[in-house]
């Protein structure tokens, strides 16, 4: 429980928000892409817009950038109403998935593009470019053309170009999606470091949950043009507000059943759950993450304890750091249960396919969502 509380510490901004979005709607013809979106972002925060494609996350970013204005609603940045300002009068730097580096200009000319034409002395611009190149770890590449750099290097140049003008807001539109897996993980870390160093308020759009979980201070999960949940990565993961969030971030075992007196029936077994506030007899969907199915002991002796289930191991897949285990239980009827067992647990208990065992589903990890409505539910 102490762990839960630490995770639950909500990072709601104490100071007045830097970016305040209120009642934002966006329609493309008959299609509603954003539906009453409201959001507060604190100065210096790293925010991720996360969701499947078509959920409205890019639409929201483009509205903030003034590239595609919202249909209704207001956006305030640093206390200034920017709802109707054209992109050129807003204050942000932007990085796209395609890098959008100017192919005919060298790396230093690319970075200097926003600095020239501002009556700054040449020497100052050159110094600033050198500083930025060092900042993104590419001090020797100034004279090269973008096509001569790797994808990861190009994206770092694009980043340097965007922050060259010291924008109040940094917008990243799927910046890592075009890169291969290893480079992506590396750059994730670098971008996060850079953001922390500069303290620039940052919004990143992504459909990659791992990216969002590892980089963001807070995540905005979106689906069908509405915000499903806003919270820290652990909040989102541990206390998903909706079944959609639970499903989209991480994996879940889902079982349909009814709720009654702080517990749900699973076949013969009864599972205590978190406090839900639901009425007795409500139809619900129970969701349990594979890593929350805890291996308790070999054999069925312990299965009489509350929240313990007797199961049989159908199949085990070795995935490096853990075993993905398919379980069958008479208590669950035909519904299979997927569990992730650590190497240590498997070795300690001597688990193998075909074995009979007991697993524990801790009450505080059993998520309950009312059926037919993905909103509301068991947020603790």
């Amino acid at each position: 429980m102490s762990e839960l509380q630490a995770e639950g510490a909500v990072a709601t901004p104490a100071e007045p928000s830097y970016l305040k979005i209120e009642g934002l709607w966006k329609a493309f013809g008959d299609f509603i892409a954003l539906r009453e979106v409201s959001l507060d972002i604190a100065r210096g925060e790293f925010i991720c817009f996360l969701g499947p494609s078509g959920c409205g996350k890019t639409t929201l970013l483009r509205a903030i950038a003034g590239l595609d204005p919202q249909s209704r609603g207001t956006i305030r940045q640093g206390g200034r109403d920017i709802s109707e300002l054209p992109a050129s009068q807003r204050d942000y730097g932007i990085v796209f998935q395609s890098y959008a580096l100017f192919p005919n200009l060298t790396v230093e000319r690319n970075i200097a593009f926003g600095l020239e034409n501002t009556k700054r002395p040449k020497a100052e611009i050159a110094a600033r470019v050198r500083e930025l190149l060092a900042l993104v770890g590419l001090p020797d590449q100034a004279k090269k053309y973008p096509a001569q750099l790797s994808g990861g290097q190009q994206q770092r140049i694009a980043l340097a170009r965007a922050i060259a003008i010291n924008p109040g807001l940094l917008l990243l539109d799927e910046p890592l999606s075009a890169l291969d897996a290893k480079v992506r993980v590396h750059l994730r870390h670098e971008i996060k470091e850079l953001q922390r160093k500069l303290g620039v308020t940052t919004i990143m759009v992504t459909h990659d949950q791992e990216e969002a979980l590892s980089m963001a201070d807070r995540i905005v999960v979106m689906n069908h043009g509405v915000i499903e949940q806003i919270g820290t990565p652990t909040e989102i993961y541990r206390h998903p507000a909706t079944l959609f969030v639970a499903d989209f971030i991480g994996e879940t075992n889902r079982i349909a059943t009814t709720y009654s007196g702080g517990a749900v029936k699973l076949g013969d077994a009864t599972l205590q759950t978190r406090e839900t506030g639901l009425a007795d007899g409500a139809a619900v969907t129970v969701a349990v993450r594979p890593e929350d199915v805890l291996p308790h002991a070999i054999g069925h002796e312990a299965a009489t304890k509350p929240n313990h289930l007797p199961v049989r191991i159908v199949d085990m897949e070795f995935l490096g750091s853990y075993w993905r285990t398919h379980l069958a239980s008479a208590a669950l009827g035909g519904t299979p249960l997927v569990a992730n067992f650590s190497m240590n647990a498997v070795r300690r208990l001597g688990l193998s396919a075909g074995a009979e065992m007991t697993v524990e589903l801790p009450a505080e990890r059993v998520l309950v969502f009312p059926q037919g409505d993905t909103r509301g539910g068991a947020h603790g």
Binding site: G23, W25, A27, I32, R35, E36, A65, G66, L67, P69, Q70, S71, R72, G73, S83, E84, L85, P86, A87, S88, Q89, R90, Y92, G93, I94, F96, S98, A100, F102, P103, N104, L105, F113, G114, N117, Y145, P146, A147, Q148, R161, A162, A164, I165, P167, L171, H224, G225, T374
Partner: protein, 669 residues
């Protein structure tokens, strides 16, 4: 979940327009205005002109005649009644042109200018113009005149709008036969050109014959000369004093035969480019599949090659058809008595000054051109979808017999094309064909002939240079606005339509439309009539579409996110345009400019109506010298155009390579 909910009530947010937005809109407005003034309005003027007829409306005039004392007046009588009683003018006599005159005393058989009888005349409607001497009258007040003055009273025609011109056109068998002739010539030329060009393209893409590069160069030569030049060569070869006249077995080259041969010559490169592109994108794997299925060569040709190239063939056919049916220079030079539509426009306008009938023929000529244009656009769209990045290009394998057959075919076409140019060169250098065959440069002494002299050549050069520079700037900027401006959708769609329209408008039609529009003294742009400016405007407009499409293709390949990035860096759009867009598109820009230059040098059709004595052009001079019988100097002037365009092409290739290597270092990794 996405419940069907609508936006809450309220005003839809609109971004304020920044200075960039205003500048972009202003730019696009200016170029759109250019297209409206240089294209839409002239065409409208021409179209409305084709419905205008002039005629004398006798019911609008009333006369009174006095007795010999000049004091006792008879009853007022309308001119129509007088004419009916007299049977003087039949209805067709009452048709007229804009400056027709009908003598009023003709309605009075007893009229004598010495008689003391007096006459009164008045209009019975608001518009009843008549002349007393040189004074134009238009009034319903009686005007009293003595006999001697009445002698000089002329009725003036009034305009009516309607379909009479069209009725007249379609009931005139001579004019109507031009439609048949035009369709016949265009169809035969199209079949031949597409067939020949397909063989040539097939040889270049699908065989291992030698000298492919040389053949490609030769095949492109006709683009560098005016379309009427092959006519001159054909006259030298097969004309009345032609050295190969015997080969015709008594047939005459002046007529359909000459037009078809010349048309094949000048349309060949256009068809070749299209078909060659279609053949070059075919997929090796289809042929390997056919071979593995043991299909015969013949079967493979009909089931793989032809279907793969079908869009190219259709497109080439329509382009060729349009080029031939709208061409004016060639039938003018070698058509003899054989009338085609483009010639009719010229004859009606220049020969008979019947502008209204010229407009009618123009509208008729517009129909096949627009149909061809629409079909071609549809086909082009499908062609693009055939391209796939994963296709494996076809690699021909050597096959001695096949390669030699292909070589023989290309050599035949090569001799034909190079031969035509060589004959012109020969004609230009011969002192006096066929009596004095010694060489001299006498025929290049253009100042001794009518047609504009050397000044015409320099004018052409000026026109070509101005067209290349101004045209490219307008076209590229316009294409940039269409492709890269955000919002403003309707405006951009209208602009795009206007930019595509010139391709469907034959040059003759455009030229005539310009007369109607710019020669109108009420037009604020009237001052450019008869100047170099109108020639530049008409040429830029005439060749607008191909340049526009080239620019669009280049711009589409540029990352759409450059603009938002530059905006976020708080840079004005023109800085991105100058520093990035233009440099990246430089190859395409150079292509547009050379295209404009070459076409400005060779075009005849639009400018033939628009040049004045001090803006005579080389291409028009070729036409006029040929008309005057100075065929050798005409050939010499044609060759001047050829040298110029060839030099421009070489310089262009050279400059492209230099600029590419200097400013496009980023292209190489």
């Amino acid at each position: 979940m996405a419940e069907a909910a609508a936006l809450p009530a309220g005003r839809t947010t609109r971004l304020k327009i920044d200075s960039d937005g205003w500048i972009k809109r202003a730019f696009m407005g200016v170029i759109a205005l250019y297209l409206v003034a240089a294209l839409a309005l002239p065409l409208y003027a021409m179209l409305s002109k084709s419905f205008v007829t002039y005629g004398f409306d006798l019911s609008r005039y009333e006369f009174q005649v006095s007795d010999e004392s000049g004091t006792v007046w008879g009853d007022p009588v309308t001119a129509a009644a007088l004419n009916e009683a007299l049977g003087k003018f039949a209805p067709e006599d009452l048709r007229s042109s804009s400056d027709g005159r009908l003598s009023a005393p003709d309605l009075f058989p007893d009229f004598s200018f010495r008689s003391p009888v007096k006459y009164r005349i008045r209009g019975t409607s608001d518009n009843a113009p008549y002349l007393v001497g040189l004074d134009l009258q238009n009034s319903t007040e009686w005007r009293e005149l003595d006999s001697n003055t009445f002698r000089r009273v002329n009725l003036r025609p009034v305009t009516t709008t309607g379909l009479q011109n069209y009725q007249e056109y379609f009931s005139n068998p001579v004019l109507f036969s031009s439609i048949e002739n035009s369709l016949f010539i265009a169809s035969v030329s199209t079949v031949l050109t597409v067939l020949f060009a397909f063989g040539f393209a097939y040889a270049i893409n699908r065989s291992c014959m030698p000298f492919k590069g040389a053949f490609r160069l030769i095949a492109m030569m006709p683009i560098l000369v005016p379309s009427l030049l092959p006519g001159i060569a054909l006259i030298y070869m097969f004309g009345n004093q032609g050295f190969l006249k015997g080969l015709l077995f008594g047939q005459t080259i002046y007529g359909p035969l000459g037009i078809v041969i010349g048309s094949v010559f000048f349309t060949f490169p256009h068809a070749l480019i299209i078909i060659s592109t279609a053949l070059s994108i075919s997929d090796q794997r289809q042929y390997e599949a056919a071979e593995s299925l043991r299909a015969s060569k013949w079967r493979t040709f009909w089931t793989v090659t032809i279907p793969g190239a079908r869009y190219g063939l259709i497109s080439a056919a329509f382009v060729t058809f349009t080029l031939v049916i709208t061409d004016f220079g060639l039938p003018k030079v070698i058509g003899g008595q054989y009338n085609v539509l483009a010639i009719d426009i010229y004859k009606q306008v220049i020969g008979q000054q019947n502008f209204e009938m010229g407009a009618v023929v123009s509208v008729v000529l517009l129909i096949p051109a627009i149909v061809a244009f629409i079909v071609d656009r549809q086909v082009q769209k499908k062609q693009v979808s055939l391209l796939s990045a994963r296709s494996v290009p076809y690699q021909p394998k050597p096959n001695r017999r096949f390669d030699m057959t292909m070589l023989a075919w290309c050599a035949t076409m090569g001799v034909f094309i190079a031969g035509i140019i060589a004959v012109c060169q020969f004609a230009a250098l011969i002192n006096y064909w066929p009596y004095d065959l010694s060489f001299s440069l006498r025929n290049y002494d253009f100042n001794r002939m009518d047609g504009g002299g050397w000044a015409a050549y320099w004018n052409s050069l000026e026109l070509a240079a101005l067209t290349a520079v101004i045209g490219t700037a307008i076209i590229f900027t316009g294409a940039y606005m269409v492709e890269k401006i955000d919002g403003f959708k309707t405006g951009r769609a209208v602009f795009q339509f206007l930019a595509m329209l010139p391709m469907a408008i034959p040059g003759m039609v455009l030229g005539l439309a310009y007369i109607f529009f710019f020669n109108n003294p009420a037009n604020p742009f009237h001052f450019i009539y008869g100047t170099m400016a109108i020639l530049v405007v008409s040429t830029v407009t005439h060749f607008y579409t191909v340049g526009h499409l080239t620019a669009l293709t280049a711009l589409k390949q540029i990352d759409a996110e450059f603009e938002p990035v530059a905006t976020s860096l708080r840079q004005p759009f023109w800085r991105l345009f100058a520093r990035v867009t233009v440099p990246v598109c430089l190859p395409a820009i150079l292509d547009i400019s050379i295209y404009m230059f070459v076409n400005a040098m060779t075009t005849v059709s639009a400018v033939v109506f628009l040049y004045s004595t001090h803006t005579a052009l080389a291409s028009v001079a070729v036409l006029n010298m040929d008309d005057a019988g100075d065929i050798a100097p005409a050939a010499a002037m044609g060759m001047m155009i050829f040298y110029t365009n060839a030099t421009a092409r070489i310089l262009h290739a050279f400059a492209s390579r230099r600029i590419l290597s200097r400013t496009q270092a980023w292209r190489v990794r």
